[in-house]
């Protein structure tokens, strides 16, 4: 199944090209730079730590399209990278953890969308505890997601470990 999936022409081209894979990976991280920094600033604004001279709606609203652009870059490049080596990634527990965290950040965005991120009332009423909780949760989930992404590279399947010992 996974061999078939990653055997498709585009996936093979990505995997076997010396340039396409690292370029997609670079774009994945460039998107993260665009998007991650702005998420941090949004969450710190909600916590009353950064950008306090700007209203919540100015910060959240002004950054929204750019965060979406960054997120789109991250997701498209990430999906192409995963697809090209899915047989390698799928057994990796950190890859699965990353997918779970990705699902959780999507749920987070949907749950807090109206009450926090698209709520003009916050400018008048001040920032309630629930919005601060949303901000902390967002930071924890995103840093967890980045960490899971990095740990993917350090996990080895048991079978390969044995092989390495046998070779030695």
């Amino acid at each position: 199944m996974f061999d078939w999936l990653q055997g498709m022409a585009i996936a093979t081209a990505i995997r076997e090209s010396a340039l396409v894979y690292p370029i997609l990976l670079s774009l994945h991280l460039t998107g993260m730079a665009l998007f991650g920094g702005m998420i941090l600033m949004t969450d710190l604004r909600l916590l009353g730590i950064a950008m306090t001279k700007r209203s919540v709606s100015d910060v959240v609203g002004g950054l929204r399209p750019w965060k979406h652009l960054g997120l789109t870059m991250v997701v498209i490049c990430g999906a192409l990278l995963a697809w090209s080596k899915i047989a390698l990634y799928w057994p990796n527990p950190y890859f699965k953890l990353k997918l779970i965290l990705l699902t959780l950040v999507t749920i987070h965005a949907l749950v807090f969308r109206n009450s926090v991120y698209r709520n003009p009332e916050l400018d008048r009423t001040g920032i309630p505890g629930s919005a601060k909780f949303a901000a902390v949760l967002s930071l924890v989930l995103w840093i967890g997601l980045v960490s899971a992404g990095r740990w993917i590279g350090y996990w080895e399947p048991e079978k390969e470990k044995t092989t390495a010992v046998q070779i030695r």
């Binding site: 991280l29 730079a33 991650g36 920094g37 950064a50 700007r54 910060v59 950054l63 750019w66 840093i143």
Partner: protein, 150 residues
């Protein structure tokens, strides 16, 4: 100098502790996201988009401490990662390019970029300065990734 010559990367905790290296990498990613994300907020404003209700000068003032925080994170985690295998990095053309670009980008950010962002009316020149800024920082990300692929 003698100390440096006697340095054996095998004794570095980054190479003996399973967690140390990826923790540094996560710190590096969070750091450059903060650094580049906040600078891009100013760049976007110079281009006439982003948080339009504030001026570039105001956004620069808002974000500057966080840019510095991001820079501190990368400048701590980066040398730690480098220390895991200095010879490998020094011989790597992408690493050399990255360090050169990093020095240029930092100088650019705290001279031309800052001066223009603080000016009364950055105008068309402001847009050029913003594009150069984004290109410099993005090329650093690319150079970082390509270290593993050249």
């Amino acid at each position: 100098m003698a100390l440096f010559l006697a340095y054996d990367p095998a004794t570095n905790p980054l190479n003996t502790n399973e967690w140390a290296f990826p923790v540094c990498e996560v710190m590096h990613i969070v750091g450059f996201a903060t650094l580049i994300g906040t600078i891009t907020m100013v760049d976007l404003r110079l281009l006439g988009v982003g948080i339009k209700k504030a001026s570039a000068a105001e956004l620069l003032r808002d974000t500057a401490p966080w840019t510095l925080f991001g820079l501190a994170l990368v400048l701590i985690s980066g040398p730690l990662i480098f220390s895991s295998d200095p010879n490998l990095y020094l011989a790597n053309p992408s690493f050399r390019f990255k360090i050169t670009t990093l020095v240029i980008a930092i100088i650019y950010n705290y001279t031309i970029h800052r001066k223009v962002a603080r000016s009364q009316d950055p105008g068309g020149f402001g847009k050029l300065v913003a594009i150069v800024s984004m290109a410099l920082w993005a090329s650093l990300v690319f150079a970082g990734i390509f270290i593993a692929f050249v």
